[in-house]
């Protein structure tokens, strides 16, 4: 069983089809609605999102638990700090 099946998100955010900077703008908005420790799953198709989400995670302190791909999609699990 891989990580993607183990981690369970509290909220799912679909940023499919959106380009920079909207995936991180929407991620930031979504994470503000969460309680500390809750998990956001974000799906994007923007090829710039893996490095951008990693940078966003480092800058905001919200931990990036997993960054992976599923076909053409990029999948991120982020834990609210």
């Amino acid at each position: 069983m891989n990580d993607i099946e183990v981690i369970k998100e509290d909220v799912l955010l679909d940023c499919t089809g959106l380009l920079c900077p909207m995936p991180i703008v929407k991620t930031s908005k979504a994470i503000k609605e969460l309680q500390s420790g809750q998990i956001l799953k974000m799906i994007a198709t923007d090829a710039g999102s893996p490095p951008d989400i990693a940078a966003w995670s480092r800058q905001t302190g919200n931990e990036l638990l997993l960054s992976t791909t599923e076909g053409e999609k990029f999948i991120f699990f982020l834990k609210k700090s």
């Binding site: 089809g17 900077p21 909207m22 703008v25 908005k29 923007d46 800058q59 905001t60």
Partner: protein
């Protein structure tokens, strides 16, 4: 020299000096991204950038004197859409409405690719508490009044920007 307050969040200070569609994107993209990362952000709108504070955004783009601008068609088969159309200045200067056409094509191409509009990015900036500062001197020169701009705009001068930028981690002139 260190920042006045070492515990303050990171800060981005931008100068937006151009009001065309292509140049309207970078300040709003960087500002909304920085805001999303928890940074403090201020944009100082001066000269042609001031028009980006108007309620109705009419930013257009001109390929005239913009030789590196790729002209793409936002419709038709993929191979057709990927063609960079050469646009000689002589042609552009003589065709009425060419800038309107170029603007429409760029907006449609951006929309098709999933790029947010300038309006959406500006709204995101406002929601993220980005400071939007209009340059008083340019307002006087161009005859703009406070009420010509969105209510979220502040008005200030060079000293206002410099004081803000002095404590910024990143400062960019766009």
């Amino acid at each position: 020299m260190s920042k006045s307050d070492p515990n303050a969040p990171k800060r981005l200070a931008l100068i937006s000096s151009k009001g065309t569609l292509d140049w309207a994107y970078p300040p709003f993209i960087l500002a909304s991204a920085a805001g999303a990362m928890g940074w403090e952000v201020g944009i100082f709108f001066t000269f042609y950038g001031l028009t980006l504070l108007k309620p109705e955004l009419t930013a257009a783009v001109s390929p005239l004197g913009n030789p590196a601008m790729p002209m793409k068609m936002p419709f038709g088969p993929e191979g057709f859409q990927n063609i960079n159309w050469p646009m000689p200045n002589l042609l552009m200067a003589n065709v009425p409405g060419f800038e309107g056409l170029a603007t429409t094509l760029m907006k449609q191409t951006f929309h098709n690719k999933g790029v947010a509009t300038i309006e959406e990015l500006r709204d995101a900036c406002i929601e993220l508490d980005v400071r939007l500062i209009g340059c008083q001197m340019t307002m006087d020169v161009f005859g703009f009044k406070r009420e010509d701009f969105i209510p979220q705009a502040e008005i200030g001068g060079a000293a206002t920007f410099l004081e803000y930028a002095a404590d910024a981690d990143v400062q960019l002139f766009i």
